[in-house]
């Protein structure tokens, strides 16, 4: 047996592809935390709602998939803005623990609503993309698309934050909220807009995940916790840190899963996370 066989390479490549989607998941959460200083515990549940919206639009109402995806992104963006206006804004000045509890409440609320409205049985959009066979390796086409779109989404967000007036204001408000009115900027509007962008990123993630996973009301639990861990590992609120952490985590899961068993990949990743929390509790690129 070769030391560096193609199965290992396949695991590494799959890890990179998984890293892309994890990075996208972490991006929205980090944006919200970095700008508004609030953690959306219910972030993955927004994605779950988005996945259902794709299913209903495409499989029940027979919209073309592209239109269903667009609707999903817009719907979850609107949900993000609504979440801010109805839930976050009233507790902006409250203790962090209260803010966590209230978004935690939204998590259970959304799960319960999904269970009542959509039932507990698994749903699938039934779009199966082929696996690409390259040099004896099998690469999931769905994952490849997810990776590409996630990367594209991140670059678009980066350019938006870097190049535009609104984007600069979003970065500025995270540094000094109090003087934004002196610039002619309403902090309120920036927060609603940021929440909508965070929602849109969740919607984009929903479109990509729906190609790979079945949909059920508790699907958020299978990637919510890992998203938080990626964010914390990178330094909560630090988008670059989250990006790096996503790829580290994904390699643990994928390569660890190759050497042992798939479940062991997650165990290794979580052990690594716990170790890192002792060594660098502020995260890879976190401040204090």
């Amino acid at each position: 047996m070769q030391i560096f066989d193609s199965f290992l390479l396949e695991a590494v490549i799959n890890g990179i592809l998984l890293g892309g989607i994890l990075a996208l998941l972490a991006l929205g959460l980090n944006l919200i935390f970095g700008v508004i200083d609030v953690v959306w515990i219910c972030y993955a549940e927004l994605i779950m709602i988005g996945m259902y919206s794709v299913y209903y639009a495409h499989n029940v109402y027979h919209w073309p998939l592209a239109l269903a995806f667009l609707a999903c992104v817009l719907l979850v963006a609107a949900l993000g803005a609504l979440l801010h206006v109805l839930v976050i804004r009233p507790v902006l000045g409250a203790e962090p623990i209260n803010q966590l509890l209230v978004t935690g409440g939204v998590l259970f609320f959304l799960q319960a609503v999904a269970t009542l409205a959509f039932g507990v049985e698994f749903k699938n959009v039934g779009v199966s993309l082929p696996a690409l066979q390259i040099a004896g390796m099998y690469i999931s086409f769905a994952r490849l698309i997810a990776f590409g779109v996630a990367l594209g989404g991140m670059v678009a967000l980066y350019l938006f934050l870097k190049r535009t007036y609104i984007g600069t204001a979003i970065r500025a408000i995270s540094q000094d909220r109090g003087i934004m009115p002196l610039m002619g900027v309403s902090p309120n509007r920036i927060f609603v807009l940021t929440s909508a962008i965070g929602g849109a990123l969740a919607g984009l993630a929903a479109c990509l995940l729906v190609l790979q996973y079945d949909i059920h009301p508790a699907i958020g639990l299978s990637f919510g916790p890992i998203t938080f861990m990626v964010c914390v590992l990178g330094g909560l609120g630090n988008m670059v840190g989250g990006f790096i952490a996503a790829f580290i985590f994904a390699q643990f899961i994928s390569v660890g899963g190759y050497f042992l068993a798939l479940e062991w990949g997650y165990v290794l990743a979580f052990l690594f996370f716990i170790g890192m929390m002792f060594w660098r509790p502020q995260g890879i690129l976190g401040g204090k």
Binding site: Y165, A169, Q175, M183, G184, S186
Partner: protein
Amino acid sequence: MLRLENVSAGYGSFQALFDVSLEVNGGESVAVIGPNGAGKTTLLRVISKLLPASAGTVSMEGWPLNDVPAHQVIARGIAQVPENRRLFPKLTVEENLKMGGFLAAARARYAERLEFVYSLFPRMKERRAQAAGTLSGGEQQMCAIGRALMSGPKLLLLDEPSAGLAPVVVQAIFGLIRRICAEGYTVLIVEQNIRQVLKVVDRAYLLETGRIKTSGAAATLLASDEIRKAYLGL
């Protein structure tokens, strides 16, 4: 241009301003001087609507600002350089300036005003790609003034521009403020450094424990016994 009539304001049960009336005419430079805790910063916060007045009226060019939200005050032509500069430390100098010109009307004239600010503060042009948090105190003050100028204000409010700066730098900053006044800007400046500021402005109001004590031409105040004894130690 700017008129305050019987303005009172405070924080909770603490009243910081009592019946303050003052006026700034177009083209004038006016100072509000007074000791620490007199309510000078509160006064500017009221004008910018960051703090609501509990009584009285603030009006700009004859229009009352009572119902204008804080983020629209700048659209009325009032830009403020806040206490302690308050730059966005992680944004570059140029991005800070860009934030000062956030308003739609200011965006259209961004290039022209940036050029003006850079001609006023050539140091800012050298440091434009540097994070604002890494600038020296004097440079930060220049950047903060430049940021306020980016909106093309009719009235510039300056809150303690000399605070926390070395004496040599204070001299330089007051020299720059003199130049800005000479450019035709109307300026209202709040300052503890009474001797320096009275040499720059046309008129001044003396604010003590939230009340206007006296007012007059800067040269007259500088020569008055009241100011000389209490504040200049002469």
